[in-house]
Amino acid sequence: MSDAAALAVEGVSHAYAGREVLRDVGFTLEAGRTLAVVGESGAGKSTLSRLVAGLELPTSGRVRVAGVAPTVRYGAVSPVQMVFQHPTEALNRFLSVGASVAEGLRRLPRRERAAYVAALLEQVGIDPSRARERPKTFSGGQLQRIVTARALAAEPKLLLCDEPTSALDVSVQAQIVNLLLALQERNGFACLLVTHDLGVARVLADDVLVLRDGEMVELAPADDFFAGPSTPYAQELLRTTAEQMLVRERA
């Protein structure tokens, strides 16, 4: 079992009310690596992440996280942890941030949790003395760090990041991007990054998967993809992105 890939998606198709939104998608993702999933709205990115998180079962094909089908059970801590676009909505606003982070630490005896929470907050750059505060006293960037700490608490095999930086300011985006890089280096989780921000994908991803209308258009090492995708659709996607992205001609 230990040699199973962190994530294996095998021939997965998925339909809602008979309408197929994913068709025969397959790839594997090894520990310590990041795969960016890109594509327009309706491409199937969200459906793919729901299947990978175990929120739904695919109509056909199978998903395995470290060799096991992902499931969501109340009270259990999943090996797939998530970081979403809007950190304010991801945290329980009635719980202290420390208590939220501690939810991933149920495997530990209660008395050991506080020290772990402090260490995790420290790791993501939040002052551990603020663990008792509620989410409303933190900025968006800080909350995203806290959400990341909560995800790490579960020692996930797979971190699922759905537009983790799109709601943040440019300077804060850079902080979160760097944080994800450093944490992956240290903790070795695999990361599935769903994003429409190809700049963020450029920095974080080892490989890029392009989806269109539920089908895989291209799966390539990131360096090859950004040097020039092989399919016309991906080329067009990259071109329209480049036309809206900062270009610096250094004087």
């Binding site: 327009e40 709205s41 900025s139 968006g140 960037g141 799109s166 300011d169 440019v170 300077s171 804060v172 985006q173 850079a174 902080q175 991007v177 760097n178 890089l181 450093a182 429409h196 921000d197 190809l198 700049g199 963020v200 450029r202 920095v203 974080l204 991803a205 080892d206 990131a222 360096d223 950004f226 067009e236 996607l237 990259l238 329209t240 992105t241 480049a242 036309e243 809206q244 992205m245 900062l246 270009v247 610096r248 001609e249 250094r250 004087a251």
Partner: protein, 321 residues
Amino acid sequence: MNGPCEGRDVTVGTVGGGVQLVEGVDLAVEAGAMLGIVGETGAGKTVTMRALLGLLPPGVRAHGELRVNGDVVSLARVGELRRLLGSETSVVLQNPVGMLDPMVRVGDQLVEGVVRKGVLRPADARARAVSLLGQMGFRAVEHVLTLYPFQLSGGMAQRVTIAMGMMPGPRLLVVDEPTSALDANVRLEVLRLFKRLAQEEGTAVILVSHDLGLVSHFCDTIAVMYAGRVVEHGPTRELVARPAHPYTVALLDASATLTARRRVPLRVLPGAPPRPGHWPAGCVFAPRCPHAQERCVAERPLPTADGSRGWACHFPRIEQA
């Protein structure tokens, strides 16, 4: 009368002078041109725009001037600003679906504002709506007029709201964080159509965004805001190629671009901007500035004002002309 639209010495604070939110902001946009305002959350971008439009929330008051189409209006006179809003000035809000009334057909919504304001008669308003939707790339315009907002895709809704903002033929149009939720290709299309339309009509546009990439491609000039003031402004090309203010440099450096390298950390600006009411005495950026010196902490830099470019920094990153 197509001179530049200007905000002069825009200063915003809570009533009673408790907390200052924006201080001494000068902005100018030529007719048909686009000015991009960039800066982090809390820098005062939206507050500045609301001050110009007369849309500040209760308890907040502005000083300074709005100059539009030959009129000079004090920002303290909210009634005057409101009279201009919907005729000389206009606005497109952040969330296109939120800006539209879900219970009213697109055609009726487009026409309603200008008719009520007395800018156009109903028949003329309807003709203008048809023409604007056409210019925003709709083909079956008559059909679109009969739709309800829920029947529109995100891209369509955004094009409708832009048409709505343009209905009165404003001299100044403020667009707040447009198209952020749209796919790259849809966004590109919407902004291209919008830019052409604004040029044709000679509308001065202020585009508020935290997306430097977007602003750098569509705006003629850029103003960078930090802690309630403009720290640097200038023509887009020059400002991006040769930023003078260390904050502008930091913003540009922090942007993830397609030429970034895989797994190489981005350059980040440590710390967070000061909150309103906690602005430092000297340069507001000094506490985070990698080049700050004694003078920066002691003395607030005044904005330079030579021609089209300017910055507020004692030690700019480029040689002064």
